[in-house]
């Protein structure tokens, strides 16, 4: 009986005319698209537009004045400096960690994976506080540092450390699943054909993961420039010295300089948009290469 029934179905499916892979009615389809777009518009596009509208409310002159004001310039420079140190550090670390996890078997591997995720699960305020507890003058290493005249918290090194801590999973997290999926077959082939380890890394491993790597770096960079909580704790809020752009935005807002606050905020948003555009551009430019890598 059961066999008969199942045989019954088969011819009817085969005989059916071509249908789109989704069987839903157009009403469902358009409702879903509408909901997604409305959600996107309301929670993403609208706030973004609001930032730029507010920024230009008092005119273009005020906008640019807010960006060339010395404290703002110092904040922009510090933000870029911190990102320029934190991102390469996390790039090297992320590559090394992903390589180790994906291509080798060793004890404590799961522990390492869990630890890499730690900064995602810990509140950024705590990430900042641990550095104060460690390097602050009442802290564990504080007295020793003070004797040697080394400043870490309430100075640039502390801000860099806190940023590295917070942004540290991005590159590794992008690479690990991809490298695990790819396995080590390509590398084994390269080495069996006589390539050195270094050459294998540059010519086989790195090209295989370059898109994931780029994506991880861009995400890492976006977060490094935008980090507020952890940096706020270790910064000391010294204007023109240890204020990053997000902290500067808050200060301006609290000083009733709303247009200036939104001007700096719009610059931050712009940096994020530029980051995403670079990614899209590179993806478009290298579409063939991308397809080849995905085909693996």
């Amino acid at each position: 009986m059961a066999l008969e029934a199942s045989l019954d179905i088969h011819p009817s499916v085969a005989a059916a005319p071509w249908r789109s892979p989704t069987a839903e009615s157009p009403a469902v389809k358009w409702t879903l698209i509408g909901v997604a777009l409305a959600f996107l518009g309301f929670f993403l596009v609208l706030p973004l537009v609001a930032v730029f509208v507010e920024a230009f409310r008092s005119g273009v002159g005020v906008y640019f004045e807010a960006l060339v004001e010395p404290d703002a310039v110092a904040a922009i420079r510090l933000t870029l400096l911190v990102a320029a140190i934190a991102v390469p550090c996390n790039l090297v670390f992320g590559l090394a960690a992903a390589w180790a996890i994906a291509k080798f078997e060793f004890k404590g591997k799961n522990l390492l994976i869990t630890l890499i995720d730690l900064p995602f699960s810990v509140s950024p305020v705590i990430s900042g506080l641990v550095y104060v507890l460690l390097f602050g003058s009442q802290g564990f290493l504080g007295p020793w540092l003070a004797r040697h005249g080394i400043e870490i918290v309430f100075a640039v090194p502390g801000i860099v450390l806190a940023t590295i801590f917070v942004t540290f999973p991005f590159v590794a997290r992008e690479l690990i699943p991809l490298m695990q999926e790819q396995g080590s077959g390509d590398e084994e082939a390269a080495i069996s054909l006589g390539a050195s380890g270094w050459k294998t890394f540059w010519l086989v491993t790195l090209p295989n993961v370059r898109w994931a790597l780029l994506y991880g770096v861009l995400l890492c960079n976006a977060r490094a420039m935008g980090e507020y909580g952890a940096v706020s704790v270790v910064s000391g809020h010294i204007r023109g010295l240890t204020n990053t752009m997000p902290l500067h935005v808050e200060i301006l807002y609290n000083e009733y300089s709303f247009s200036a606050a939104f001007a700096v905020a719009s610059l931050l948003a712009l940096l994020a948009l530029v980051t995403l555009s670079i990614k899209s551009f590179l993806e478009w430019r290298h579409a063939d290469g991308l397809k080849a890598v995905r085909g693996h």
Binding site: V87, A146, W202, I238, R239
Partner: protein
């Protein structure tokens, strides 16, 4: 193809590396202050730098750090390298002195007027036309009134607010402390949002439009009026308030280590000069010596009866009694009620 993409990948990384640099050095002081003094010290620092150079001394620039008074004290304790602290409360400077020894224990009195070059008080800011008819502390507990004040646990200004309400209640109930405590408790039950700092509360009231009355530093209330328009808000002066005394002090050890003791001391002294007192009055702080300030600025300060911290036995008594863990504030304020 591989070479090309590798180049673009690292090109992007290298581009970010090109941007770095640091500012040139001269004598710099770091003044660690509380929230509402931003505008005051922006003016004062410029005036002092000019004065110091006119004296024929090396150019000086003063850097500022602002935040909640308690949080700022904590940062100095944890190593923020302040030459000078200008905080909202004596208790906060005491904390630095006790925990680090960087400020001598007898700092209070090293400058005139117990180290307070300016004082302030607590007034009410209400919406234009005073629709809820709030005239005095007693009106804060009327049924439909929402009060905005920060958290006394974290904010110096909020502690002054608390004590001012207490001073009124003690007067009103003729010294009955149980009734005073009941009244202040009622006030806090009318608070929908307890921000961590004075500036946060001002933003809540002014920008977000929450609440009917803001308990504010007098200078903060005037500033909000000036910045955001007298057509939206008005100041109500209660029958009695408190003389808020935000003190200033030299952080001896930090200044010594940096070799800035002389200029830091001069900076503090200059707060008491004619120019310093004038700038304070201009920014709505009540100068210690009113006759030094501009009389037209002085006219703006309303006359009112002021209780002082000494009526509460000084901060050394008031702080543990009202604001320590398990103190009066903890007894009357339970979140979510």
């Amino acid at each position: 193809m591989i070479i090309l993409s590798r180049r673009s990948l690292f090109g992007a990384a290298a581009a970010t590396l090109l941007l770095a640099g640091s500012a040139g050095a001269q004598t710099t002081l770091l003044n660690v202050s509380y929230d509402p003094t931003r505008e005051l010290y922006r003016d004062f620092n410029a005036a002092f730098a000019k004065h110091w150079e006119a004296e024929g001394k090396e150019a000086v620039s003063v850097r500022m750090s602002h935040g909640g008074s308690g949080a700022q004290a904590r940062a100095v304790i944890d190593g923020l390298d302040a030459d000078i602290v200008t905080l909202a409360l004596e208790a906060d400077i005491n904390a630095i002195a006790e925990k680090t020894g960087k400020i001598p224990a007898d700092w209070r009195g090293s400058l005139a007027n117990n180290n307070c070059p300016y004082t302030s008080t607590i007034v009410f800011l209400v919406r234009k036309g005073n629709p809820k008819a709030i005239r005095d502390w007693g009106d804060l507990v009327k049924d439909d009134v929402a009060v905005i004040t920060p958290n006394p646990k974290t904010s110096g200004g909020a502690r002054w607010n608390f004590l001012a309400a207490w001073a009124w209640a003690e007067r009103h109930f003729e010294g009955d402390e149980a009734k005073a405590q009941e009244f202040v408790g009622q006030v806090y039950r009318h608070v929908p949002v307890l921000d961590t700092g004075a500036r946060g509360s001002t933003t809540t009231f002014v920008q977000r439009g929450i609440g009917d009355v803001l308990l504010a530093w007098e200078n903060e209330a005037f500033l909000a009026l000036e910045e955001l328009g007298p057509d939206q808000f008005e100041i109500v002066v209660p029958s009695i308030s408190i003389k808020a005394e935000p003190p200033v002090a030299l952080v001896d050890e930090n200044a010594e280590a940096k070799g800035t003791t002389e200029v830091a001391k001069a900076y503090l002294d200059y707060l008491y000069s004619k120019e310093g007192q004038t700038i304070a009055a201009k920014h709505y702080y009540r100068p210690f010596e009113p006759e030094l300030a501009d009389p037209s600025d002085m006219q703006r300060f309303p006359e009112l009866e002021l209780a002082t911290i000494d009526d509460f036995g000084g901060w050394k008594k008031a702080q543990p009694r009202f604001f320590a863990d398990g103190g009066v504030f903890d007894q009357i304020y339970k979140p979510g009620q």
